[in-house]
């Protein structure tokens, strides 16, 4: 509809649409919360698919093989480290998710920045508590 009315204009391309990364330092907390929420959400969804696939094949191979697969993975330090990352992604996504559900009930919209900082601080604290459980 607007297409026919559009005069000779310069289309600045898709990069304008996705985000102004050039000005990332100018992004406000609400936008960072969105970026982090989306990133952790995609990470968790990807992990969900991998989790079900690996677990499934592991179990269908038999009990001994299942145990071996788990122990083989857990003996790698990088796997443990990635699990800490996964835990961090879950904790932030959960806490920021609670923040979003609060907004949906129109609670705390005035203190959204503080709530974002709170969710970051709480995530950090919970993940720090969790680190020994994952790495030991």
């Amino acid at each position: 509809m607007s297409q026919d009315r559009r005069v000779d204009s310069y289309d600045r391309g898709r990069i304008e649409d996705v985000g102004r990364w050039k000005d990332w330092a100018k992004h406000k907390p609400g936008m960072w919360a969105f970026y982090l929420h989306r990133f952790t959400g995609l990470v968790l969804s990807f992990y969900l698919v991998m989790h079900l696939t690996v677990l499934g094949t592991g179990f269908w191979l038999g009990h001994t093989e299942y145990t071996e697969i788990i122990h083989g993975l857990e003996s790698l330090f990088i796997v443990k480290l990635l699990e800490v990352g996964l835990f961090a992604a879950f904790v932030f996504h959960a806490l920021n998710g609670v923040r979003i559900v609060m907004f949906d009930m129109t609670i705390g919209l005035d203190v959204q920045e503080q709530l974002f900082y709170l969710s970051i601080a709480l995530s950090f604290a919970v993940v720090m508590v969790g680190v020994p459980f994952f790495l030991l």
Partner: protein, 255 residues
Amino acid sequence: MATTQETQRSEPATAEGKAELDVFRYIPEEDDEPHTETYEIETFEGMTVLDALIKIRDEQDSSLTVRHSCRMARCGSDAVYINGTQRLACNTQVSELSQPIDVEPLPRFDVIRDLVVEMNEFYDRMESVEPWFQPDHEPETGEEYLQSPENRKNIDTVLDCIWCGACTSSCSPAATDSDFPGPAALAKAYRFYKDEREGEETRKRRLEMLESSHGIYRCHTQFNCTEVCPKGISPTEAIMEMSRDAVKEKLRFWR
């Protein structure tokens, strides 16, 4: 008072009374690609970015194009992207900005020339929510459409919208999803949704009209629109209230 203003303006500019502006330039007849041009100007106290741009146009480069009209944050025609934020050029003090001041047309709108962007897409979005008064019934003969002061209070802030497009430019779902009306249009929808004079039927119809995953449910509470609104409107709050009401309406069957 006018005299003090005059004396301050006529005072010779000191070293700190200078400002450097990096302005986005694009003239379709001449340029293939946009480029940035740097201008140095002398400032005066109370100078806004719009004043600076007009000064550049008057004194240095008459081809510089910027859309402006009232110069007092009422008409909403001079929303531009200043130092990484959507603002009204007439409502932004040069002295408050870090230099060089980066001035670009509103992101995510097509550029017609220099700082002038194509706004029709934005107006289409505004129209899509039917931003006009649609009462269920006419008032009894001789009466006006009276609104109670309490009801009017609900829409005090959203009524201030000047259609400048700053919020819609800042909103990433509005940029990637052309069916999403965007913050300004949804705040406008809220203005009529909250108006009790329209009656229950229209209120329900308005809510149903917006109920889509490309409607009110597309909001990601980025709060960008709330941050950039030159009028202090919070479209996020309006959208959240409408989506909350819409879901409440759905859950009513077991109430």
